[in-house]
Amino acid sequence: MTAIPLRPPRRLVDLTLDGEPVRAPEDSTLLDACRAAGKDVPTLCQGDTLTPKNACRVCVVEVEGARTLAPACSRRVEQGMEVRTDTERARHSRKVVLELLASSTDLSTTPRAADWIEEYGAEPDRFGADAARVDEEPKVDNDLYVRDYDKCILCYKCVDACGDQWQNTFAIAVAGRGFDARISTEHDAPLTDSACVYCGNCIEVCPTGALSFKTEFDMRAAGAWDESAQTETTTVCAYCGVGCNLTLHVQDNEIVKVTSPHDNPVTHGNLCIKGRFGYQHVQNHAQNRD
């Protein structure tokens, strides 16, 4: 469904994108303007339901007169701005950022990462075999979801979703500093001892697969995960009367994970533990019982 929230009318500002004059509503970001103009700017930490932290820096563009490049996901359009999205300077930064990320973390489950690495000519291997990596073992401490921080690019989206932007549970935060910074619970405790309420909204927003359903994690480990064989069905959660939308991802007639449409004006993709993880009863067929 497409929701059209009513807003006060917004003025349009004039700017140029790669030399072409465009108009964009005030308060929109450069990324909005780029996308409206059909330009593909790569993004990792930007998410449609959260305020971007602009931490990954793959979406940088050149703004005329600025000393440094600007993150398209966060910089607001201004009247008369001259923006170039595909200059050598911007492409260089994107390339190096992709190299830095791919040389330190596992981007194998990050959608589009491989395409961008190819498009920008990034060579993550050139830092040598001894280049420091995040090197984290997957944290499997509960039956619902797995934290594989070797895939984490520290986009802060899970922290924001768990914190004041959506869930207000505040079970996780960034701990440590610099290259040693990690997403962590209090005192680095197992999830089961933390404040986590297993809403799974952090999985919903994770852009790299560092957070995943235990089902998905196990199936990937067994080589059985096959997205092309999956169907997606959006339905209404049966647990309570709120009416949250669920998208059931089904492979071989089994629900393998549950997401939620981000354009739902009530939930914006957020669910609770029941909607997200409580799907076993649906497939509790006679033939599945021992």
Partner: protein, 685 residues
Amino acid sequence: MDLRFGAGKPTDEERAAVDALLGPPESAWEGADDRNDTDLRWARGGREARERRELLLPGLHALNDRVGWISEGGLDYLCRRLTVPPAEGYGVATFYAMFAVKPRPATVVHVCTDLACAARGSARVCAELERDLGPAGSAGSGAVWQPSPCLGLCERAPAALAIRAGETPQAAVVAPATAEAVADAASAPHDAPAEPPAAAAVPQTGATVPQGGATVPQTGADGPCPPPATRAGTDDAVVPAPGPDAGQRPENPAQREPRADPCAPPESSARRDTSVPPAGGNLVLLRRVGVVDPGSLDDYRTHGGYAALRRAFALGPAGVIREVTEAGLVGRGGAAFPTGRKWSATAQQPDHPHYLVCNADESEPGTFKDRVLMEGDPYALIEAMTIAGYATGAHRGYLYLRGEYPRALRRLRTAIDRARARGFLGEDVMGQGFAFDIEIRRGAGAYICGEETAIFNSIEGRRGEPRSKPPFPVEKGLFGKPTAVNNVETLVNVLPILIEGAQAYARTGTGTSTGTKLFCVSGTVARPGVYELPFGATLGELLELAGPPETLRAVLLGGAAGGFVRPDELDVPLTFEGTRAAGTTLGSGVVLVLDDSVDLPRILLRIAEFFRDESCGQCVPCRVGTVRQEEALHRIKDLTGAAAAGDIALLREVGQAMRDASICGLGQTAWNAVESAIDRLGAFK
């Protein structure tokens, strides 16, 4: 907010430390042990409780000062008291280098291994400590030592700082450091010899200690030799907690500072001669250092103190901003932004309240000028902050002081208390109907917190990560309100501007760099210290004052984020425009002198290591880029020419992306010094 606290309980000590800061808990909702009837009737919390979040950093200090580290139970109790999610409290505690979340001994010795100290033999001190106390980080004999980034004691390099936790925490500065003196300070910080007076760091006063004569008039001096008990023991307490001896404390601890202390031990090396001619009337910012008693408000007023604030009241806020603008004052923290424009932009914001933040988180390796100013003339900073608050419409000023400056903390606290008691701070400053007060916030070991927006997050009790700009601080700064952030040196410049007038002030210096500038000269010079020169003097003239080495290899200007200058470039004028034209920067005023005995690749490696350690980790170019740069410099530290060419190309590519795409100045400048060493000094050639 849906907070869950673990089962961890604070120890009695931890509870007492937190309660000493926050007062006893009123209800079980905020950590009281017993639930009473009223607790059952309503839940406490909400906005009022959440707004106490800014007390998180002081709370973490309280725990760390008392026990030496922060336990789960202690942190959970603090978080419960402040309605802070424990995960966030843990994230903040693990951000700062001076805190530990794993058990460690009460005494921690920080041994500076940064540039100036490295050039002065810190490696030898570390090797000896390793032999005597065991490897860094291991808890031997009740103390643990660890290498540290710059402690801001470069004029007395190599330096160490021993901090002992307890009911009355103690800190002892050992500089110049020997392994023996460090071990002594670690075992008995209260018996450590007192530091030389701040004026000893200013060769131009001619007051090099201990040889120089008594330069500070003493008010109420209590005898020629302070008794041992009045030395570092009670005096250097990190937090002067009211202990049993509080009543017996002399009224003015600073007065007991041995100035030309005949009882002070002689300096360990006689490398300093005292031949800098006193600058006489030429010192402006430093003119009171070594002259005024830093503990006495009356002495400060006798030496011209509070005349500038009186003039400010006569001019009105707009008049003050006009003077500062016309004087051409630009920020001395490194960015050189016009102060008048910053103040006027803050003053004009319709949103209220406005805040003033004094950035005293001087952590750039090789920088110690702000420390000398704060230790030698603390009331000057307080007066200048009051003027800045008046001009920008702020009624509250935060003085964000780096955690490694125990003496500056002690003196500023004393000075603020006295100024408040005498009506120079508070509800009605000097009877002019202007309310202004200052709160000191101690940093806890994070270079990034000197970044103008990271400082806000740190004060607010969040991780000291920089914010994206825009919005700029003048629009949305501390607590989301319009804020003026100024460096210590910048603020102190306001006093001569108001006293002499903008025109007279602007006659010193050059057209676009007006006034005088403080330079922190360290490394292999005869007389390291803080020098004050009018803008326009050349680097060579400055080095002549400090006594350059016979075989000069290079000068690092502007610190780790600055650039190297060759011996044949000493005629570069020390102005913002002059250094820019020469392809370098004044930065925060660092002048680190290296002779030809220096191992340049190791110095570059240390710079890379510094940035890798100090990156906050928020953005990818800086978090990973600093690591990749350090790795490349490791690979080529013994290579030259073609063997190094590949990695130098790699360094350049990563450096360019860091400069272009990092969120803040740390990542944007982290590659500057190494790049200039490669391009201008021919490192690895």
